[in-house]
Amino acid sequence: MSRLAAELPAPTGAKPARAGRRRRNRQERLAYTILLPALGTVFVIVTIPFVLAVWQSITADDGTLIGLRNYARALSNPLFYDALRATGIYAIIVLPAEIFLGLAFALLVHRTVKRPGLRATLYVLAVLPLVVPPVAVGVVARLIYAPGYGVLNYFLQSAGLAHSEVEWLGVPVLAMGSVASVDIWQWTPFVYLVLFAGLQTVPRESIEAAQVDGATWWTQFIYIELHYLRPLFLLILFFRVADVLRVFDHVFILTGGGPGTSTQLLSLYMYRIEFKFFDGGQAAALAVLVLVSISILYSLVTRALPLERA
């Protein structure tokens, strides 16, 4: 726990209280002298793009006000809804899969692996996928799914499960599955690490008491451990949703949004509007819409997070 300012140790010795207060005031002034310029600069740097995006979205290239026309165009573009749908499908695939698999492995390791050395090894192994650059993960996925050199087709054909090449990246459903599999590969270890750490916080006495009462591993999970993991599920969802909304790299490498628009997630769609169609007005309107909706979403969920804010 971090300390609160009120708990600062009182000045030693029998100094008069007024000197202490003066010193506190001086310290507080010092705090603001350091803090305000730094915070101010960051605040301005963060805010300028937003203000500029609003400005770009309501003006034409020559600077004349055009009202909300860009917003109307952004919202009436059917591709926008394709992108929202693709992002939603992606989230519906990866979030439950990651949480289920991560939980399953956390429980499995927690129950069966008792040797500290082995647990530490598993910890390191689980950390590694998290730091592989998404671009490199995309490259790996390409080597597995791509036509011609993709090793998955080689395995399937060797095992007699497929007679011709499966177009993993050429059929919408399969392409979405391939792209999602990369996310699951990279981020399941994150869920595992968080939930495994959470399982360590369950008091041993309550588990032992439950076992004396004849709890099976399932009732032990449902009635005791789940209770301790609940805030962590929320935390995982929060960070994973934030990440799903920004997914770009591995999809760009693996499918580029295709075939058609089947894997064109929100980030890829906005990239395309701005940097392929050079439609700055519509892109700015989209940026504002996304920033506003994310701020709303954020303010709704942030209070519930188990973060140590003091």
Binding site: L30, L35, Q56, A136, V140, A141, W185, I294, L297
Partner: protein, 282 residues
């Protein structure tokens, strides 16, 4: 009794099968990447071989020197190192007052909440207006444009991590130095900084790793080897009309080797960083 031991065996087999499948799913793709990078050109056009027939490092030479990617590697190192310095300096300027000096608790909570909210900013929504700013300032295709935006996006992590590390150092140590007549700056430099060094190193490693992996901003804000980072180069190999598999794989190996090596050093702190301090290892 027999059925009970059968059940235990069955469970053991299931456990080993589960761990085995997971091990294969994680190890094989990485093996396949490395194996592909070690193949010669000729081998790529035969039927697929799981083990390189004539292992060679030719693809690494081809990527780094013939294609000139060593320049991109250099850019990446410069951008990441500068990002680390800026992020930690600004992070310290913000976390030092809120953890070591008497500020109102609401201010502390407000700053931390605000930093957390930055974590939710979607890069693509920010980069669209940022791109216009960068062009106006004539910083397009300059490393400094990347350093600025990387520092901004890594600030939330570093604020929360540094706050955690600084809060663990007893205030009394600094107080003692102050009582002995040192001024704030000296006690910061001589007392706090040495004690915070392990934490700072951990934060530096993690920020370096994140900046190293970044792709979207680099793709949009750079155009030539003047400022392009390594991931942009990797992407260039992928979207070509004809993919040279071994070169692409070698580039992938290089891109991931740096963070993997760094993480062996900072592994204890990564999860704390990713969860804003909720999960701490030992």
């Amino acid at each position: 009794m027999r059925s009970r031991s059968a059940a235990i065996w069955l469970r053991l087999i299931l456990i080993i099968a589960g761990l085995g499948v997971a091990a294969f799913i994680y190890a094989f793709p990485l093996y396949w990447l490395v194996a592909t990078s070690l193949k010669g050109k000729a081998e790529l056009y035969q039927s697929i071989t799981l083990i390189p027939q004539h292992p060679t490092l030719a693809s690494y030479g081809s990527v780094l020197f013939e294609r000139g990617f060593w320049v991109l590697l250099k850019n990446s190192v410069i951008v990441c190192a500068a990002t680390v310095v800026v992020t930690l300096a600004v992070g310290l300027l913000i976390t030092y007052p809120i953890t070591r000096l008497p500020v109102p608790p609401q201010l502390r909570v407000g700053v931390l909440n605000w930093a957390l909210s930055l974590r939710f900013l979607p890069p693509i929504a920010v980069v669209i207006p940022y791109f216009a700013i960068v062009r106006t300032l004539q910083l397009y295709d300059q490393p400094i444009a990347l350093i600025g935006i990387y520092s901004l996006f890594n600030l939330p992590f570093s604020i929360w991590m540094l706050k955690g590390f600084l809060a663990e150092i007893p205030l009394e140590l600094e107080e003692a130095a102050l009582v002995d007549g040192a001024n704030r700056w000296t006690s910061f430099r001589r007392v706090l900084l040495p004690l915070a060094t392990p934490g700072l190193m951990a934060a530096a490693t993690i920020v370096f790793t994140f900046a190293w992996s970044e792709f979207l901003f680099a793709l949009i804000l750079t155009a030539t080897p003047n400022a392009q980072t390594f991931p942009v180069g990797v992407q260039g190999l992928v979207t070509q009309f004809e993919i040279i598999w071994n070169d692409m794989a070698a580039a992938g190996v290089i891109a991931m080797s740096v963070p993997l090596v760094l993480m062996v050093v900072a592994r204890k702190y990564l999860v704390a960083g990713l969860t804003f301090g909720v999960i701490r290892e030992k």
